[in-house]
Symmetry: C2
Subunit: 303 residues, 2 copies
Protein backbone atom coordinates (compact mmCIF):
# COMPACT_ATOMS: atom_id res chain seq x y z
CA UNK A 1 0.00 0.00 0.00
CA UNK A 2 2.62 2.54 0.96
CA UNK A 3 4.76 1.78 -2.09
CA UNK A 4 1.67 1.92 -4.27
CA UNK A 5 0.58 5.28 -2.84
CA UNK A 6 4.09 6.65 -3.29
CA UNK A 7 4.01 5.60 -6.91
CA UNK A 8 0.60 7.17 -7.49
CA UNK A 9 1.60 10.47 -5.92
CA UNK A 10 4.84 10.61 -7.84
CA UNK A 11 3.07 9.60 -11.02
CA UNK A 12 0.64 12.53 -10.65
CA UNK A 13 3.51 14.99 -10.33
CA UNK A 14 5.59 13.49 -13.12
CA UNK A 15 2.61 13.23 -15.48
CA UNK A 16 1.89 16.92 -14.97
CA UNK A 17 5.49 17.99 -15.48
CA UNK A 18 5.92 15.87 -18.60
CA UNK A 19 2.72 17.27 -20.07
CA UNK A 20 3.64 20.94 -19.63
CA UNK A 21 7.25 20.53 -20.77
CA UNK A 22 6.62 18.50 -23.91
CA UNK A 23 7.19 20.83 -26.86
CA UNK A 24 4.53 20.68 -29.52
CA UNK A 25 1.94 19.27 -27.08
CA UNK A 26 -1.31 21.23 -26.63
CA UNK A 27 -0.50 21.38 -22.91
CA UNK A 28 2.99 22.81 -23.40
CA UNK A 29 3.78 25.79 -21.16
CA UNK A 30 6.66 28.13 -22.07
CA UNK A 31 9.44 28.16 -19.48
CA UNK A 32 8.71 31.73 -18.33
CA UNK A 33 5.19 30.66 -17.33
CA UNK A 34 6.30 27.63 -15.31
CA UNK A 35 5.75 29.26 -11.94
CA UNK A 36 5.53 26.99 -8.89
CA UNK A 37 4.68 28.44 -5.46
CA UNK A 38 5.41 26.74 -2.14
CA UNK A 39 4.12 27.57 1.29
CA UNK A 40 6.96 27.33 3.84
CA UNK A 41 5.78 26.48 7.40
CA UNK A 42 4.63 22.85 7.40
CA UNK A 43 5.19 22.49 3.65
CA UNK A 44 8.97 22.85 3.41
CA UNK A 45 10.03 22.92 7.06
CA UNK A 46 8.61 21.88 10.43
CA UNK A 47 6.03 24.19 12.09
CA UNK A 48 5.52 22.22 15.34
CA UNK A 49 5.47 22.44 18.34
CA UNK A 50 5.22 26.10 17.24
CA UNK A 51 6.10 28.25 14.21
CA UNK A 52 9.88 28.75 14.11
CA UNK A 53 9.39 32.52 13.94
CA UNK A 54 7.41 32.36 17.19
CA UNK A 55 10.24 30.38 18.83
CA UNK A 56 12.53 33.19 17.64
CA UNK A 57 10.29 35.79 19.32
CA UNK A 58 10.36 33.84 22.62
CA UNK A 59 14.14 33.46 22.59
CA UNK A 60 14.67 37.06 21.55
CA UNK A 61 12.49 38.42 24.38
CA UNK A 62 14.45 36.32 26.89
CA UNK A 63 17.71 37.53 25.40
CA UNK A 64 16.70 41.20 25.51
CA UNK A 65 14.97 41.03 28.93
CA UNK A 66 18.02 42.19 30.95
CA UNK A 67 17.91 45.50 29.05
CA UNK A 68 14.17 45.83 29.78
CA UNK A 69 13.55 45.41 33.54
CA UNK A 70 9.98 46.73 32.97
CA UNK A 71 9.12 43.53 31.07
CA UNK A 72 9.09 41.63 34.40
CA UNK A 73 5.87 43.42 35.29
CA UNK A 74 4.31 44.25 31.89
CA UNK A 75 2.25 41.97 29.70
CA UNK A 76 2.72 40.35 27.24
CA UNK A 77 6.42 40.19 28.18
CA UNK A 78 5.80 39.07 31.78
CA UNK A 79 3.67 36.13 30.70
CA UNK A 80 6.11 35.16 28.02
CA UNK A 81 9.11 35.23 30.36
CA UNK A 82 7.20 33.19 32.95
CA UNK A 83 5.81 30.68 30.43
CA UNK A 84 2.26 31.88 31.13
CA UNK A 85 0.99 31.77 27.55
CA UNK A 86 -2.59 32.27 28.65
CA UNK A 87 -1.64 35.73 29.89
CA UNK A 88 0.18 36.39 26.60
CA UNK A 89 -2.86 35.28 24.59
CA UNK A 90 -5.10 37.55 26.68
CA UNK A 91 -3.24 40.61 25.37
CA UNK A 92 -4.60 39.84 21.89
CA UNK A 93 -3.52 41.72 18.80
CA UNK A 94 -2.07 44.56 20.87
CA UNK A 95 0.26 42.05 22.51
CA UNK A 96 1.35 40.66 19.15
CA UNK A 97 2.19 44.15 17.94
CA UNK A 98 4.23 44.80 21.10
CA UNK A 99 6.15 41.55 20.73
CA UNK A 100 6.85 42.23 17.05
CA UNK A 101 7.96 45.78 17.84
CA UNK A 102 10.34 44.52 20.53
CA UNK A 103 11.87 41.73 18.43
CA UNK A 104 11.42 42.60 14.74
CA UNK A 105 11.69 46.41 14.52
CA UNK A 106 14.02 49.25 15.43
CA UNK A 107 16.98 48.07 13.40
CA UNK A 108 18.05 48.10 9.75
CA UNK A 109 17.07 45.29 7.40
CA UNK A 110 20.70 44.13 7.31
CA UNK A 111 20.93 44.10 11.11
CA UNK A 112 17.73 42.08 11.43
CA UNK A 113 18.91 39.50 8.92
CA UNK A 114 22.14 39.12 10.90
CA UNK A 115 20.18 38.55 14.13
CA UNK A 116 18.05 35.89 12.43
CA UNK A 117 21.07 34.19 10.88
CA UNK A 118 22.89 34.09 14.22
CA UNK A 119 19.86 32.67 16.01
CA UNK A 120 19.29 29.98 13.37
CA UNK A 121 22.91 28.86 13.61
CA UNK A 122 22.16 27.32 17.04
CA UNK A 123 18.35 27.12 17.50
CA UNK A 124 16.92 23.60 17.40
CA UNK A 125 13.57 21.92 17.13
CA UNK A 126 12.95 20.62 20.69
CA UNK A 127 11.53 17.25 19.64
CA UNK A 128 13.68 16.46 16.63
CA UNK A 129 16.83 17.92 18.23
CA UNK A 130 18.16 19.26 14.96
CA UNK A 131 18.73 22.80 13.75
CA UNK A 132 15.51 24.28 12.33
CA UNK A 133 17.24 24.64 8.98
CA UNK A 134 17.83 20.87 9.02
CA UNK A 135 14.19 20.12 9.84
CA UNK A 136 13.25 20.45 6.19
CA UNK A 137 11.39 17.81 4.24
CA UNK A 138 13.72 15.81 2.04
CA UNK A 139 11.03 14.77 -0.50
CA UNK A 140 10.06 18.43 -0.94
CA UNK A 141 13.71 19.34 -1.53
CA UNK A 142 13.80 16.68 -4.24
CA UNK A 143 10.59 18.11 -5.69
CA UNK A 144 12.02 21.67 -5.75
CA UNK A 145 15.14 20.41 -7.52
CA UNK A 146 13.12 18.31 -9.97
CA UNK A 147 10.87 21.23 -10.93
CA UNK A 148 13.84 23.59 -11.38
CA UNK A 149 15.57 20.99 -13.56
CA UNK A 150 12.42 21.05 -15.71
CA UNK A 151 12.58 24.82 -16.17
CA UNK A 152 10.22 25.87 -13.35
CA UNK A 153 10.86 28.96 -11.29
CA UNK A 154 10.22 27.99 -7.65
CA UNK A 155 8.88 30.62 -5.24
CA UNK A 156 8.18 30.57 -1.52
CA UNK A 157 4.85 32.20 -0.59
CA UNK A 158 4.66 32.13 3.19
CA UNK A 159 2.76 33.74 6.05
CA UNK A 160 6.17 34.05 7.72
CA UNK A 161 8.21 37.24 7.52
CA UNK A 162 10.16 37.87 4.31
CA UNK A 163 13.29 39.00 6.13
CA UNK A 164 13.02 36.08 8.54
CA UNK A 165 13.34 33.70 5.54
CA UNK A 166 15.76 35.40 3.19
CA UNK A 167 18.92 34.81 5.28
CA UNK A 168 18.68 31.03 4.77
CA UNK A 169 16.29 30.03 1.94
CA UNK A 170 18.95 30.09 -0.76
CA UNK A 171 21.26 27.71 1.12
CA UNK A 172 18.51 25.45 2.49
CA UNK A 173 16.11 25.35 -0.49
CA UNK A 174 18.00 26.84 -3.42
CA UNK A 175 15.40 29.65 -3.48
CA UNK A 176 17.06 33.08 -3.88
CA UNK A 177 15.97 36.24 -2.03
CA UNK A 178 13.95 37.59 -4.96
CA UNK A 179 11.82 34.43 -5.07
CA UNK A 180 10.73 34.73 -1.44
CA UNK A 181 7.30 36.27 -0.82
CA UNK A 182 6.05 36.68 2.74
CA UNK A 183 4.53 38.91 5.36
CA UNK A 184 6.30 42.17 6.05
CA UNK A 185 6.45 45.17 8.32
CA UNK A 186 6.88 48.70 7.04
CA UNK A 187 10.35 50.08 6.48
CA UNK A 188 11.55 53.66 6.30
CA UNK A 189 14.30 55.06 4.09
CA UNK A 190 16.47 57.32 6.21
CA UNK A 191 19.94 58.75 6.40
CA UNK A 192 22.00 57.37 9.31
CA UNK A 193 25.34 59.19 9.63
CA UNK A 194 24.96 60.31 6.01
CA UNK A 195 24.37 56.76 4.80
CA UNK A 196 20.97 55.66 3.51
CA UNK A 197 19.46 52.78 5.47
CA UNK A 198 16.13 50.95 5.52
CA UNK A 199 14.88 50.98 9.11
CA UNK A 200 12.30 48.42 10.24
CA UNK A 201 9.22 50.05 11.78
CA UNK A 202 6.87 48.53 14.41
CA UNK A 203 3.96 48.52 11.98
CA UNK A 204 2.46 45.74 9.86
CA UNK A 205 2.73 46.18 6.10
CA UNK A 206 1.25 43.03 4.58
CA UNK A 207 -0.05 39.69 5.88
CA UNK A 208 0.75 37.04 3.31
CA UNK A 209 -1.83 34.46 4.34
CA UNK A 210 -5.15 33.20 2.92
CA UNK A 211 -6.47 35.83 0.42
CA UNK A 212 -3.14 37.62 0.83
CA UNK A 213 -1.29 34.85 -1.01
CA UNK A 214 -2.81 35.26 -4.48
CA UNK A 215 -2.74 39.05 -4.02
CA UNK A 216 0.99 38.99 -3.24
CA UNK A 217 1.75 36.50 -6.01
CA UNK A 218 0.08 38.82 -8.50
CA UNK A 219 1.82 41.88 -7.09
CA UNK A 220 5.30 40.39 -7.05
CA UNK A 221 5.33 37.79 -9.84
CA UNK A 222 2.55 39.11 -12.05
CA UNK A 223 1.73 35.63 -13.31
CA UNK A 224 -0.60 32.93 -12.05
CA UNK A 225 1.27 29.82 -10.87
CA UNK A 226 0.65 26.55 -12.69
CA UNK A 227 1.63 24.52 -9.61
CA UNK A 228 1.09 25.27 -5.92
CA UNK A 229 2.03 23.40 -2.76
CA UNK A 230 0.69 23.90 0.75
CA UNK A 231 -0.37 22.17 3.93
CA UNK A 232 -2.96 24.29 5.71
CA UNK A 233 -6.09 26.41 5.36
CA UNK A 234 -3.79 29.42 4.94
CA UNK A 235 -2.94 28.01 1.50
CA UNK A 236 -6.52 27.53 0.31
CA UNK A 237 -6.81 30.67 -1.81
CA UNK A 238 -3.39 30.18 -3.39
CA UNK A 239 -4.38 26.66 -4.42
CA UNK A 240 -7.80 27.80 -5.67
CA UNK A 241 -6.31 30.64 -7.69
CA UNK A 242 -3.72 28.31 -9.19
CA UNK A 243 -6.38 25.71 -10.00
CA UNK A 244 -8.60 28.26 -11.77
CA UNK A 245 -6.10 29.06 -14.54
CA UNK A 246 -6.27 27.56 -18.03
CA UNK A 247 -4.44 24.38 -18.98
CA UNK A 248 -2.90 21.69 -16.77
CA UNK A 249 -2.52 22.54 -13.09
CA UNK A 250 -0.89 20.80 -10.14
CA UNK A 251 -2.18 21.35 -6.61
CA UNK A 252 -0.68 19.42 -3.70
CA UNK A 253 -1.21 19.34 0.06
CA UNK A 254 1.25 17.86 2.54
CA UNK A 255 -0.68 16.12 5.34
CA UNK A 256 1.06 15.67 8.66
CA UNK A 257 0.21 12.10 9.63
CA UNK A 258 3.43 10.88 11.23
CA UNK A 259 3.44 11.47 15.00
CA UNK A 260 6.53 9.33 15.44
CA UNK A 261 8.94 10.71 12.88
CA UNK A 262 7.46 14.23 12.81
CA UNK A 263 4.11 15.51 14.19
CA UNK A 264 0.54 14.38 13.55
CA UNK A 265 -2.01 17.20 13.29
CA UNK A 266 -4.68 18.64 11.05
CA UNK A 267 -8.20 19.90 11.77
CA UNK A 268 -7.68 21.17 15.33
CA UNK A 269 -4.08 22.38 15.37
CA UNK A 270 -3.11 25.89 16.54
CA UNK A 271 -0.32 25.89 13.97
CA UNK A 272 -0.95 24.75 10.42
CA UNK A 273 -4.64 23.93 10.82
CA UNK A 274 -5.82 21.86 7.85
CA UNK A 275 -9.58 21.54 7.71
CA UNK A 276 -11.64 23.13 4.91
CA UNK A 277 -8.78 22.83 2.45
CA UNK A 278 -8.46 19.10 3.08
CA UNK A 279 -12.13 18.62 2.21
CA UNK A 280 -11.71 20.79 -0.88
CA UNK A 281 -8.61 18.84 -1.96
CA UNK A 282 -10.48 15.56 -1.68
CA UNK A 283 -13.49 16.95 -3.55
CA UNK A 284 -11.39 18.42 -6.35
CA UNK A 285 -8.84 15.63 -6.70
CA UNK A 286 -5.79 17.65 -5.60
CA UNK A 287 -2.87 15.46 -4.54
CA UNK A 288 -2.75 14.90 -0.76
CA UNK A 289 0.56 13.52 0.49
CA UNK A 290 0.24 11.25 3.52
CA UNK A 291 3.60 11.82 5.17
CA UNK A 292 3.56 8.61 7.20
CA UNK A 293 2.78 6.30 4.32
CA UNK A 294 4.11 8.22 1.32
CA UNK A 295 7.46 9.48 2.53
CA UNK A 296 10.10 6.82 3.09
CA UNK A 297 12.46 9.41 4.51
CA UNK A 298 11.16 12.69 5.92
CA UNK A 299 14.46 14.40 6.79
CA UNK A 300 17.95 14.12 5.36
CA UNK A 301 19.08 13.16 8.88
CA UNK A 302 16.67 10.18 9.06
CA UNK A 303 18.36 6.78 8.92
CA UNK B 1 33.45 66.70 -28.40
CA UNK B 2 30.33 64.67 -28.85
CA UNK B 3 32.29 61.60 -29.96
CA UNK B 4 34.65 62.08 -27.02
CA UNK B 5 31.77 62.35 -24.53
CA UNK B 6 30.14 59.26 -25.98
CA UNK B 7 33.37 57.36 -25.54
CA UNK B 8 33.80 58.53 -21.96
CA UNK B 9 30.26 57.63 -21.01
CA UNK B 10 30.50 54.23 -22.60
CA UNK B 11 33.91 53.68 -21.08
CA UNK B 12 32.51 54.33 -17.59
CA UNK B 13 29.82 51.70 -18.10
CA UNK B 14 32.11 49.15 -19.70
CA UNK B 15 34.84 49.65 -17.08
CA UNK B 16 32.31 48.97 -14.32
CA UNK B 17 30.89 45.87 -15.99
CA UNK B 18 34.31 44.43 -16.73
CA UNK B 19 35.40 44.98 -13.14
CA UNK B 20 32.44 43.21 -11.54
CA UNK B 21 32.41 40.30 -13.99
CA UNK B 22 36.12 39.47 -13.93
CA UNK B 23 36.49 36.26 -11.94
CA UNK B 24 39.23 36.32 -9.37
CA UNK B 25 39.24 40.13 -9.20
CA UNK B 26 38.64 41.75 -5.79
CA UNK B 27 35.70 43.59 -7.38
CA UNK B 28 34.05 40.43 -8.75
CA UNK B 29 30.31 40.21 -8.03
CA UNK B 30 28.57 36.81 -8.26
CA UNK B 31 25.89 36.68 -10.97
CA UNK B 32 23.00 36.47 -8.47
CA UNK B 33 24.05 39.83 -7.00
CA UNK B 34 24.28 41.62 -10.35
CA UNK B 35 21.01 43.53 -9.92
CA UNK B 36 20.43 46.56 -12.14
CA UNK B 37 17.34 48.75 -11.63
CA UNK B 38 15.90 51.11 -14.24
CA UNK B 39 13.34 53.84 -13.82
CA UNK B 40 10.86 53.75 -16.72
CA UNK B 41 9.28 57.17 -17.53
CA UNK B 42 12.00 59.36 -19.07
CA UNK B 43 14.67 56.70 -18.57
CA UNK B 44 13.47 53.96 -20.90
CA UNK B 45 10.54 55.62 -22.69
CA UNK B 46 9.30 59.15 -23.37
CA UNK B 47 7.42 60.97 -20.58
CA UNK B 48 6.56 64.19 -22.47
CA UNK B 49 4.35 66.07 -23.19
CA UNK B 50 2.81 64.08 -20.30
CA UNK B 51 3.27 60.68 -18.63
CA UNK B 52 1.89 57.97 -20.91
CA UNK B 53 -0.28 56.67 -18.07
CA UNK B 54 -1.87 60.12 -17.75
CA UNK B 55 -2.59 60.13 -21.51
CA UNK B 56 -4.26 56.75 -20.92
CA UNK B 57 -6.46 58.26 -18.19
CA UNK B 58 -7.53 61.12 -20.48
CA UNK B 59 -8.40 58.80 -23.36
CA UNK B 60 -10.15 56.36 -21.08
CA UNK B 61 -12.36 59.04 -19.52
CA UNK B 62 -13.35 60.25 -23.01
CA UNK B 63 -14.07 56.67 -24.05
CA UNK B 64 -16.21 55.95 -20.98
CA UNK B 65 -17.98 59.34 -20.92
CA UNK B 66 -21.07 58.22 -22.89
CA UNK B 67 -21.85 55.73 -20.10
CA UNK B 68 -21.45 58.51 -17.49
CA UNK B 69 -23.62 61.52 -18.43
CA UNK B 70 -23.03 62.91 -14.91
CA UNK B 71 -19.36 63.53 -15.82
CA UNK B 72 -20.45 66.44 -18.01
CA UNK B 73 -21.28 68.40 -14.87
CA UNK B 74 -18.95 66.88 -12.25
CA UNK B 75 -15.30 67.68 -11.65
CA UNK B 76 -12.68 66.47 -12.28
CA UNK B 77 -14.35 64.75 -15.24
CA UNK B 78 -15.97 67.90 -16.62
CA UNK B 79 -12.66 69.78 -16.72
CA UNK B 80 -10.89 66.84 -18.25
CA UNK B 81 -13.48 66.41 -21.01
CA UNK B 82 -13.41 70.14 -21.77
CA UNK B 83 -9.61 70.39 -21.68
CA UNK B 84 -9.80 72.68 -18.62
CA UNK B 85 -6.83 71.22 -16.72
CA UNK B 86 -6.85 74.08 -14.22
CA UNK B 87 -10.26 72.86 -13.02
CA UNK B 88 -8.91 69.28 -12.88
CA UNK B 89 -5.87 70.38 -10.88
CA UNK B 90 -8.14 72.28 -8.47
CA UNK B 91 -9.76 69.01 -7.38
CA UNK B 92 -6.39 67.94 -5.90
CA UNK B 93 -5.77 64.50 -4.49
CA UNK B 94 -9.49 63.77 -4.30
CA UNK B 95 -9.72 64.31 -8.04
CA UNK B 96 -6.79 61.99 -8.72
CA UNK B 97 -8.46 59.26 -6.67
CA UNK B 98 -11.72 59.73 -8.61
CA UNK B 99 -9.92 59.55 -11.96
CA UNK B 100 -7.99 56.45 -10.91
CA UNK B 101 -11.18 54.82 -9.62
CA UNK B 102 -12.95 55.52 -12.91
CA UNK B 103 -10.14 54.28 -15.16
CA UNK B 104 -7.99 51.83 -13.17
CA UNK B 105 -10.38 50.02 -10.82
CA UNK B 106 -13.56 47.96 -10.89
CA UNK B 107 -12.28 45.18 -13.12
CA UNK B 108 -10.08 42.12 -12.74
CA UNK B 109 -6.31 42.34 -13.19
CA UNK B 110 -6.58 40.39 -16.46
CA UNK B 111 -9.29 42.72 -17.77
CA UNK B 112 -7.25 45.81 -16.94
CA UNK B 113 -4.17 44.45 -18.69
CA UNK B 114 -6.29 43.78 -21.77
CA UNK B 115 -7.61 47.38 -21.74
CA UNK B 116 -4.05 48.72 -21.49
CA UNK B 117 -2.77 46.43 -24.23
CA UNK B 118 -5.59 47.46 -26.57
CA UNK B 119 -5.01 51.16 -25.91
CA UNK B 120 -1.24 50.89 -26.48
CA UNK B 121 -1.79 49.15 -29.79
CA UNK B 122 -2.96 52.48 -31.28
CA UNK B 123 -1.99 55.32 -28.88
CA UNK B 124 0.78 57.58 -30.16
CA UNK B 125 3.07 60.27 -28.83
CA UNK B 126 1.61 63.49 -30.30
CA UNK B 127 4.96 65.09 -31.17
CA UNK B 128 6.93 62.04 -32.29
CA UNK B 129 3.92 60.47 -34.02
CA UNK B 130 4.93 56.94 -33.11
CA UNK B 131 3.31 54.37 -30.83
CA UNK B 132 4.32 54.94 -27.20
CA UNK B 133 5.92 51.50 -27.17
CA UNK B 134 8.13 52.65 -30.06
CA UNK B 135 9.15 55.84 -28.25
CA UNK B 136 11.78 53.96 -26.27
CA UNK B 137 15.43 54.95 -26.12
CA UNK B 138 17.54 52.79 -28.39
CA UNK B 139 20.81 53.31 -26.42
CA UNK B 140 19.04 52.18 -23.23
CA UNK B 141 17.76 49.07 -25.03
CA UNK B 142 21.35 48.31 -26.00
CA UNK B 143 22.40 48.88 -22.39
CA UNK B 144 19.72 46.50 -21.08
CA UNK B 145 20.82 43.83 -23.54
CA UNK B 146 24.50 44.38 -22.76
CA UNK B 147 23.96 44.06 -19.00
CA UNK B 148 21.87 40.91 -19.41
CA UNK B 149 24.54 39.40 -21.65
CA UNK B 150 26.96 40.03 -18.78
CA UNK B 151 24.79 38.13 -16.30
CA UNK B 152 22.86 41.06 -14.82
CA UNK B 153 19.22 40.76 -13.87
CA UNK B 154 17.48 43.91 -15.14
CA UNK B 155 14.50 45.31 -13.21
CA UNK B 156 12.15 48.20 -13.87
CA UNK B 157 11.45 50.30 -10.77
CA UNK B 158 8.90 52.90 -11.81
CA UNK B 159 6.45 55.34 -10.28
CA UNK B 160 4.04 54.09 -12.96
CA UNK B 161 1.49 51.38 -12.25
CA UNK B 162 2.74 47.78 -12.26
CA UNK B 163 -0.21 46.48 -14.26
CA UNK B 164 0.09 49.38 -16.70
CA UNK B 165 3.62 48.18 -17.56
CA UNK B 166 3.44 44.41 -17.46
CA UNK B 167 1.40 43.95 -20.66
CA UNK B 168 4.28 45.27 -22.82
CA UNK B 169 7.63 45.39 -20.94
CA UNK B 170 8.68 41.89 -21.93
CA UNK B 171 8.21 42.55 -25.65
CA UNK B 172 9.54 46.14 -25.60
CA UNK B 173 12.42 45.80 -23.12
CA UNK B 174 12.94 42.08 -22.58
CA UNK B 175 11.93 42.61 -18.93
CA UNK B 176 9.49 39.91 -17.75
CA UNK B 177 6.48 40.57 -15.49
CA UNK B 178 8.26 39.42 -12.32
CA UNK B 179 11.03 41.99 -12.84
CA UNK B 180 8.62 44.93 -12.98
CA UNK B 181 8.22 46.95 -9.76
CA UNK B 182 5.85 49.90 -9.68
CA UNK B 183 3.04 51.70 -7.96
CA UNK B 184 -0.09 49.70 -7.28
CA UNK B 185 -3.66 49.88 -6.12
CA UNK B 186 -5.19 47.36 -3.74
CA UNK B 187 -6.72 44.18 -5.10
CA UNK B 188 -9.29 41.87 -3.56
CA UNK B 189 -9.49 38.11 -3.93
CA UNK B 190 -13.08 37.17 -4.60
CA UNK B 191 -15.20 34.47 -6.15
CA UNK B 192 -16.95 35.57 -9.36
CA UNK B 193 -19.36 32.88 -10.62
CA UNK B 194 -17.45 30.34 -8.54
CA UNK B 195 -14.13 31.34 -10.08
CA UNK B 196 -11.49 33.17 -8.02
CA UNK B 197 -10.53 36.56 -9.41
CA UNK B 198 -8.38 39.48 -8.30
CA UNK B 199 -10.53 42.60 -8.47
CA UNK B 200 -8.88 46.03 -8.67
CA UNK B 201 -10.08 48.38 -5.92
CA UNK B 202 -10.23 52.20 -6.05
CA UNK B 203 -7.64 52.51 -3.28
CA UNK B 204 -3.92 53.23 -3.42
CA UNK B 205 -1.63 50.45 -2.21
CA UNK B 206 1.92 51.67 -2.76
CA UNK B 207 3.55 54.68 -4.40
CA UNK B 208 6.83 53.56 -5.93
CA UNK B 209 8.56 56.92 -6.10
CA UNK B 210 11.37 58.65 -4.18
CA UNK B 211 11.81 56.85 -0.80
CA UNK B 212 9.37 54.22 -2.08
CA UNK B 213 11.88 52.95 -4.63
CA UNK B 214 14.52 51.52 -2.25
CA UNK B 215 11.71 50.26 0.01
CA UNK B 216 10.07 48.37 -2.87
CA UNK B 217 13.39 47.07 -4.20
CA UNK B 218 14.14 45.63 -0.78
CA UNK B 219 10.65 44.19 -0.41
CA UNK B 220 10.53 42.55 -3.84
CA UNK B 221 14.16 41.76 -4.71
CA UNK B 222 15.69 41.59 -1.25
CA UNK B 223 19.06 42.70 -2.57
CA UNK B 224 20.65 46.11 -3.06
CA UNK B 225 21.26 46.90 -6.74
CA UNK B 226 24.85 47.44 -7.88
CA UNK B 227 23.71 49.60 -10.80
CA UNK B 228 20.80 52.04 -11.05
CA UNK B 229 19.51 54.24 -13.86
CA UNK B 230 17.14 57.17 -13.64
CA UNK B 231 16.37 60.62 -15.00
CA UNK B 232 14.53 62.60 -12.32
CA UNK B 233 14.34 63.55 -8.66
CA UNK B 234 12.00 60.59 -8.17
CA UNK B 235 15.05 58.37 -8.66
CA UNK B 236 17.28 60.11 -6.12
CA UNK B 237 16.82 57.67 -3.24
CA UNK B 238 17.21 54.63 -5.49
CA UNK B 239 20.51 55.99 -6.76
CA UNK B 240 21.68 56.94 -3.27
CA UNK B 241 20.80 53.55 -1.87
CA UNK B 242 22.57 51.81 -4.74
CA UNK B 243 25.63 54.04 -4.32
CA UNK B 244 25.90 53.31 -0.58
CA UNK B 245 26.56 49.58 -0.97
CA UNK B 246 30.02 48.02 -0.79
CA UNK B 247 32.19 47.47 -3.87
CA UNK B 248 31.91 49.01 -7.34
CA UNK B 249 28.69 50.82 -8.16
CA UNK B 250 27.24 52.37 -11.30
CA UNK B 251 24.81 55.28 -11.10
CA UNK B 252 23.59 56.96 -14.27
CA UNK B 253 21.17 59.79 -15.07
CA UNK B 254 19.63 60.39 -18.48
CA UNK B 255 19.40 64.14 -19.09
CA UNK B 256 16.84 65.36 -21.60
CA UNK B 257 18.73 67.96 -23.62
CA UNK B 258 17.42 67.40 -27.14
CA UNK B 259 14.40 69.58 -27.86
CA UNK B 260 14.53 68.74 -31.55
CA UNK B 261 14.72 64.96 -31.61
CA UNK B 262 12.92 64.49 -28.25
CA UNK B 263 12.14 67.02 -25.48
CA UNK B 264 14.40 69.38 -23.54
CA UNK B 265 13.54 69.73 -19.85
CA UNK B 266 14.97 69.42 -16.36
CA UNK B 267 14.72 71.66 -13.29
CA UNK B 268 11.26 73.14 -13.91
CA UNK B 269 9.35 70.37 -15.65
CA UNK B 270 5.97 69.09 -14.40
CA UNK B 271 6.92 65.62 -15.59
CA UNK B 272 10.33 64.17 -14.81
CA UNK B 273 11.70 67.16 -12.89
CA UNK B 274 15.48 66.80 -12.53
CA UNK B 275 16.92 69.28 -10.05
CA UNK B 276 18.46 68.16 -6.75
CA UNK B 277 19.52 64.83 -8.21
CA UNK B 278 21.40 66.53 -11.05
CA UNK B 279 23.41 68.51 -8.53
CA UNK B 280 24.06 65.37 -6.50
CA UNK B 281 25.13 63.45 -9.61
CA UNK B 282 27.64 66.14 -10.51
CA UNK B 283 28.96 66.33 -6.95
CA UNK B 284 29.33 62.57 -6.64
CA UNK B 285 30.60 61.80 -10.11
CA UNK B 286 27.61 59.75 -11.28
CA UNK B 287 27.39 59.42 -15.05
CA UNK B 288 25.09 62.03 -16.65
CA UNK B 289 24.09 61.23 -20.21
CA UNK B 290 23.53 64.31 -22.36
CA UNK B 291 20.99 62.98 -24.85
CA UNK B 292 21.68 65.60 -27.51
CA UNK B 293 25.41 65.16 -27.60
CA UNK B 294 25.89 61.58 -26.37
CA UNK B 295 23.21 59.67 -28.27
CA UNK B 296 23.75 59.39 -32.00
CA UNK B 297 20.36 57.75 -32.38
CA UNK B 298 17.63 58.22 -29.79
CA UNK B 299 14.91 55.97 -31.24
CA UNK B 300 15.03 52.90 -33.42
CA UNK B 301 12.84 54.82 -35.89
CA UNK B 302 15.39 57.67 -36.19
CA UNK B 303 17.18 57.87 -39.51
Amino acid sequence: MSARRRTLCLRGIVAFVEKVTKEGSVDFVAAERRIATFDNDGTLWVEQPMYVQLAFVLDRVKQLAPEHPEWKTTQPFKGLLEGDFKAVAATGEKGVVQLMAATHAGMTVDQFQKIVGDWLSTARNPKLNHLHTECIYQPMMELLAYLRAKGFKTYIVSGGGIEFMRPWTEKAYGVPAEQVIGSSIKTKFEMVDGKPELMRLPEANFVDDKEGKPIAINEVIGRRPIAAFGNSDGDQQMLEWTAAGDGPRLMLLVRHTDGAREFAYDRHSSFGKLDKTLDEAKAKGWIVVDMKNDWKRIFAFDK
